[in-house]
């Protein structure tokens, strides 16, 4: 008889010990069992077929560990940088590099009694309604805590490399970032498939708290193999006058689901969300954003762009909630897509729920095809068609790419995007 995946995960949970947050994690496991995996009937998942995730039993883990040299060779921008490698859900300390001036990083188990961790862990994730967040929380034994104390502004970025590893394995990555009052940091996440990865799943839940006046940049490059899966849930909580900027570039993965929820809890917050996704083959790339304006005089800005070819499917669902007290909110959202073939599909859905009356809120979603007039213009100058298409595609992606700070990481992303665009042809 076929094993019921959820039952298997439950028995695996019960067999485990040494849970850092036993009560919270047991509750999360119960929620996961109760909710099960979402199907098409679930509005939040309607356009995101996840059968390949739902129907298999993912293995608990794999013991392959990358060396520092392997990681740096693959991601040359890491040389000399502060970075942590999370492999198969736990911290590979040997492959990581944390110079003196890097922010404090610790494992969740060892940091569990830290007052900040006690105050914030599991407080922002919607574990009670999101099965993947619940699943993650139940198994979040080996996550990573990054803390930036009050007033500390760290100029050099911190990288976290999340590798899936092993055949059919699931890795539950858990991140907690606490930026204190007036603290500043730049965190860059790279998700990629490890050397022996095959149809594995990264299930990541991140919680990011910004104190008053804090500034956090959250850059994500998702470049897993074409048969890998990823669910990334990110929950951001902003106190007053803080600035949070996320930039997400998705080039790889068979199924990628990103949920990014930001709660602007204090006044004068600024929240920026940029996204770029490139889909080909049978990829499914889903970005669900949620911008929750709870306080007056905040600004939010979203720009998501997608290039989708072959039979790929992309979803952008942008929810903006302006609560009754959040007067003088400025909220902007734009989603633009280029369909590169007759079988590709994009679902772009703005979702506005506005309960305050003095609000400026704009949204726009466009889905179009390559501009034939521009293509002819470039070709009439002698550029071969393929080159002209690549050039126009790159230009389409440009305003998201240019939102990244200049440097080797941005160059790496641009190269990755450029190479990927060559594979998305019409």
């Amino acid at each position: 008889m076929k094993t019921d995946p959820i039952k298997e995960y439950k028995s695996r949970f019960e067999a485990g010990n040494g849970k850092p947050f036993p009560a919270l994690q047991a509750e999360a496991m119960d929620t996961f069992v109760r909710l099960g995996f979402p199907g098409k009937h679930n509005e939040e998942w309607r356009y995101t077929p996840i059968r390949p995730i739902r129907e298999r039993v993912f293995a608990a883990g794999h013991d392959t560990r990358s060396s520092k040299q392997e990681v740096q060779q693959r991601f040359p921008f890491l040389e000399g940088a502060a970075y942590a490698v999370m492999e198969n859900g736990s911290w590979n300390r040997e492959a990581s590099s944390l110079p003196e001036d890097a922010p404090r990083m610790s494992g969740i188990s060892e940091a569990k009694d830290h007052p900040g961790v006690q105050a914030h862990f599991g407080k922002y994730a919607d574990t009670h309604i999101d099965p993947f967040a619940a699943w993650n929380t139940a198994f979040a034994d080996a996550g990573l805590v990054i803390e930036i104390p009050d007033g500390q502004r760290i100029d050099t970025p911190v990288y976290v490399v999340l590798l899936d590893q092993g055949p059919g394995a699931v890795a539950h990555n858990r991140l907690l970032v606490m930026a204190g009052h007036n603290a500043a940091c730049s965190i860059r996440l790279i998700t990629a498939s490890g050397t022996v990865a095959d149809q594995s799943l990264l299930n990541t839940t991140s919680e990011v708290v910004l104190g008053e006046g804090a500034k956090v940049e959250w850059d994500v490059l998702q470049m897993q193999d074409e048969n890998a899966f990823q669910v990334a849930n990110t929950y951001v909580f902003q106190h007053g006058r803080s600035v949070f900027t996320s930039r997400t570039v998705t080039t790889g993965g068979r199924i990628v689901r990103n949920k990014l929820h930001i709660r602007a809890a204090g006044e004068h917050c600024e929240s920026n969300m940029y996204g770029l996704y490139l889909g080909s083959g049978d990829q499914v790339i889903d970005n669900h954003t949620g911008m929750f304006h709870a306080s007056p005089r905040c600004l939010s800005n979203q720009l998501y762009k997608g290039l989708v070819g072959d039979r790929a499917q992309a979803v952008f669902n942008g929810r903006i909630v302006v609560e009754r007290d959040a007067q003088q909110t400025n909220a902007y959202q734009s989603s633009k897509n280029l369909l590169m073939g007759p079988d590709a599909a994009v679902t772009a859905k703005p979702q506005l729920e506005i309960f305050a009356d003095d609000v400026r809120c704009t949204h726009g979603a466009t889905t179009g095809q390559l501009d034939d007039a521009a293509l002819f213009y470039l070709r009439s100058r002698g550029l071969p068609r393929d080159e002209a298409v690549s050039m126009l595609n790159l230009a389409f992606a440009f305003d998201v790419l240019e939102s990244f700070n200049e440097g080797p990481f941005r160059s790496f992303i641009e190269e990755t995007v450029r190479a990927r665009l060559k594979e998305i042809r019409i």
Binding site: F376, Y377, L378, S380, G382, R385, A395
Partner: protein
């Protein structure tokens, strides 16, 4: 250089060019004048290889049949079209795409690619030709440019790519007299024994500044009258009705 015989072209079943013939020798400047709807822009599009036309007849370029060539193959062989409505392309800088285009053309000719330094030097001298700022070449192609700036950018690109045959589609439209003079000066400096021009225009005005060797009248999709530069003046004076009346049976 260019030999068109009995060119018939249409779009979506509607025939626009009805057996047009034209022969342009190296170094010659031909003006093609015609009223609205006579097929001027179709001729420009068909010459540059724009898709969407049903074309028959003979199109020889430099002794080779170019009828089946793609737009880029025509450009690589030395044909250049200055657009009536140059396209705005956000995110693509003129300098960047032009360097790629130039190197694609050089590659087709079996020449070494130019490096950045050589390209910048070349660009500097050609920009001066049409009094364009270096900054304009760094910006996205034609984005936010005025009508005059767009046309100057066309001539700048023409100068950079050094074509054998330049087809200019109503380059004078939307230009004030100062911009017209700059454009004409740029074009005149590119004239030479080995380079030919086909200047498509509605008005005679441009031909005051770029003096043609031959003038043809395009009417109802074919050339109905050819002559020297004085034909343009005659047209300007008498209007296109003169041609129409002329064509009417007595």
């Amino acid at each position: 250089m260019l030999d068109i015989q009995n060119l018939v072209a249409g779009v979506e079943g509607k025939q626009i060019l009805n057996g047009l013939s034209l022969r342009v020798k190296p170094g010659e400047v031909h003006a093609i004048m015609g009223p609205n709807g006579s097929g001027k822009s179709t001729l420009a599009g068909v010459l540059a290889g724009k898709e969407g036309y049903e074309v028959s007849g003979s199109l020889m370029f430099d002794g080779k049949d170019m009828a089946e060539w793609s737009p880029e193959e025509r450009a690589q062989a030395g044909l250049f079209l200055a657009f009536q409505y140059p396209v705005e392309i956000p995110g693509v800088s003129t300098a960047n795409f032009l360097k790629e285009a130039l190197n694609a053309i050089r590659k087709a000719r079996g020449e070494e690619p130019v490096d950045s330094k050589q390209f910048l030097q070349l660009m500097k001298s050609k920009l001066a030709l049409v009094e364009m700022d270096k900054e304009m070449a760094r910006r996205s192609v034609n984005e936010g440019f005025s009508g005059g700036e767009k046309k100057r950018n066309e001539i700048f690109q023409m100068a950079m790519l050094e074509p054998k045959l330049c087809v200019m589609d109503e380059t004078d439209s939307g230009l004030d007299i100062d911009a017209l003079k700059i454009v004409a000066r740029g074009v005149n400096s590119l004239r030479g024994e080995q380079r030919s021009f086909v200047i498509i225009t509605h008005y005679q005005r441009l031909l005051d500044y770029i003096v043609p060797d031959h003038v043809h009248v395009l009417y109802d999709g074919r050339i109905v009258k050819s002559g020297g530069k004085e034909l343009a003046l005659e047209l300007e004076e008498k209007g296109y009705d003169w041609i129409r009346d002329d064509k009417q049976p007595a």
